[in-house]
Symmetry: C2
Amino acid sequence: MTSSDEYLLIKAAFKQPVERTPVWVMRQAGRYLAEYREVRDKAGSFLSLCYNPELAAEVSVQPLDIIGVDAVIMFSDILTPLVGMGVELDFMPGPVLANPIKNQRDIDHLHPLIPEKSTSYVGEILRLIRQQISGRAPVIGFAGAPFTLACYMIEGGNSKLFSKTIKFFFNEQKLAHQLMEKLTTMTIEYLNYQIENGAQMVQLFDTWAGILSPDDYKSFVFPYVSRIFESLNGTGVVPKVYYINGSNHLLEIMSGTGADVIGLDWKCDIQTVKQQIGHKVALQGNLDPNVLFCNPEIIKEKVLEILTKFGSESGHIFNLGHGIDKNVNPEHLKEMVKAVKENSKRDC
Amino acid sequence: MTSSDEYLLIKAAFKQPVERTPVWVMRQAGRYLAEYREVRDKAGSFLSLCYNPELAAEVSVQPLDIIGVDAVIMFSDILTPLVGMGVELDFMPGPVLANPIKNQRDIDHLHPLIPEKSTSYVGEILRLIRQQISGRAPVIGFAGAPFTLACYMIEGGNSKLFSKTIKFFFNEQKLAHQLMEKLTTMTIEYLNYQIENGAQMVQLFDTWAGILSPDDYKSFVFPYVSRIFESLNGTGVVPKVYYINGSNHLLEIMSGTGADVIGLDWKCDIQTVKQQIGHKVALQGNLDPNVLFCNPEIIKEKVLEILTKFGSESGHIFNLGHGIDKNVNPEHLKEMVKAVKENSKRDC
């Protein structure tokens, strides 16, 4: 079995020399793969797949063999640990959370997560993945960040405008901080449980935090995310990645959270961002997910642009700037991975 | 009748001294007003209202009296001029464009806009507004910017991911530039027609251009927007405003388009942006539209934050960072306008 510090992914995350840029893709275990859709049909539903360790481990491993990525991310959803706090969750097909958070009582009803009790399936998924791939690649765990989870809990599901969330955070600041506290504690427990059970890198998804101005981000998000990163086990061994979509106005602040790696969307210029925060953190990203709908020559050209912009130093993990779309042709993703592997070789 | 250069709005747009910060709101003639909904019901549909000069002028003027804003923006939609190029447009209720652009033939079918023929209702709306308000406030005209119009034309309506648009622009670059050429010519004709008919400031809405990286924006958008601004009549008299949502990564480039004013979303920090581009352009914005769902004290607090961040120099037009939501209580908008007026007084 490969020792964790020998993986390209782990070395790049800690900005240690690597022979080429590692590559994986957000939502790589997903619907664009026929093999995934087959297993999901077997599971019956998205949630049944999340709760079934054998099948979840199977879809997690698929992109390693089919696509040739450099890491396996466990298959799960950021919302499932909320069930362990007393939230009623369903997917039809978008997430629906019964009893959205409105007041003190709703927050008081949330109880602490006991991961080994409520999310034991996640521990099992991680152990199964580690067994099945026997060291061929590192395994990534993940969690939703408190603000993004709060958005779902207040809106009751997806939202376009997040009006209820902003109204709650601004009108009910004390309650908002109470909710963030509870979610922060939960996230620390949950990610440490994943690390104990085999996660070799962890990513915190704060997808929606980009709707906040820098000042509001500093008040409502930064202290909690920082606390999560300082409370995780495995400092210096298990890299911590922090991702926000639409984060260009927040990058400077994000780079001070204690994350080892900042995950970029596709809109920002990775060269500019590297100049701005690259001395503090490694960068992950940042191909436009829509490029995978283009011709192979365009895919290669756009991959090269990003590799060139980042340059030959270590500290870059190639990825999309957002999750892969379900309608992408897997052959196109293979082209992307091949282009990264062939065009990022260097002496180290 | 007030001369155009005496309006707070016009003076602030050209960074001339003003006694207080002017304020208006994107989509201020809209569904949040019961008075608007009444007129729209009379018109029968959204499109009928766009095409009915008397009723469109009536809803345009409503917020001047009801809310007390400092400008009247003509009621219209960015997509209606496309009908004059041969596009079939409907709203049910979101925009639906028949025969989305896919190939050379689709682009060849688009014919030049003759504004006095196809959009004479817009000329009439502007003249009616000018008559009705007899100089009490300046009148704002507007158009959709070519890239944003292209998004609608390629997707066939609204989109979340803009996959077709990106695929078209990257795979079919020659066609994409042809489409941008045609839309640029149209937009110049259309905005100059509005200026001839009484528009005293014009805003170019490039709502979706924020999905592009700086490099792609430079290739596909910047040259066209710059050409529009340099081709408009009334330089130095009719201020030109340029707005993109999610533009933090593009602000530096946007400030070189020739726009007099850059319209900001609510996510960027207006103090930071002022340091970055405030020496070149005036700034418009940038209250979070969701703040209008909060308590009056919060609204006032957030208005003050923005006024303080911008500081006491001229060159600021207060606005939301995006259009006002239909569920906002008009009393809350009045609170916002009042807070701007009362807290931005200065000697000039």
